[in-house]
């Protein structure tokens, strides 16, 4: 039973690692600034998932929750700033 649970965790870790590598390469190549935000959001989801999968204890779940909520607030700040910078530069023309 213990070997079976280790094999299952390897499958999920592989799926999440492939998703992360695909999303970060797509984020690096995109030119439009606001198109990068949903790709960053998928990376946040997958890192929050991998924290709990590797540490199946209550502290792992609490770390995952704190990471996800702080990352969401930061992504909100980044999107708001991209919009505000577009406004500032557009008004100065």
């Amino acid at each position: 039973m213990y070997i079976n649970s280790t094999v299952i965790r390897m499958l999920e870790e592989t799926i999440i690692a492939i998703i992360v590598i695909y999303m970060v390469l797509r984020l690096f190549v995109t030119l439009d600034r606001l198109e990068r935000m949903p790709y960053l959001n998928v990376i946040n989801f997958s890192v929050a998932a991998i924290i709990t999968i590797q540490n199946p204890s209550p502290l792992g779940a609490v770390t995952s929750m704190i990471y996800f909520i702080m990352a969401t607030v930061a992504a909100n700040a980044i999107a708001f700033t991209i919009d505000k910078i577009g406004e500032i530069e557009h008004d100065s023309d």
Partner: protein, 86 residues
């Protein structure tokens, strides 16, 4: 079947974040790549079991990004009011 351990994906996150921070020209793009780098660091720390370090690092990284954003907006508004914008 092939197995990819997560530290490899975390290393890709960190390398792309660092390279993106060097190669991008505008400050707003650099800070987005800083967020990607922070994600890679926090995931690497938590895979190896250092959960309290990951919790403190996630607080400090993202509060730092928010404060950088406020500073960036303030700087550009002052530049525009002085008339030196581009």
């Amino acid at each position: 079947m092939i197995v990819i351990d997560f530290p490899y994906a975390a290393v890709v996150l960190m390398i792309v974040g660092a390279l993106g921070g060097i190669l991008q020209t505008r400050p707003i793009d650099k800070i987005l790549m800083l967020a990607v780098l922070g994600d890679g660091l926090i995931s690497m720390m938590s895979v190896y079991g250092y959960l309290d370090v990951a919790m403190a690092s996630s607080f400090i990284t993202f509060v730092g990004i928010i404060i950088l954003m406020i500073g960036l907006i303030r700087t550009l508004e002052i530049k525009k009011a002085k008339g030196e914008l581009h």
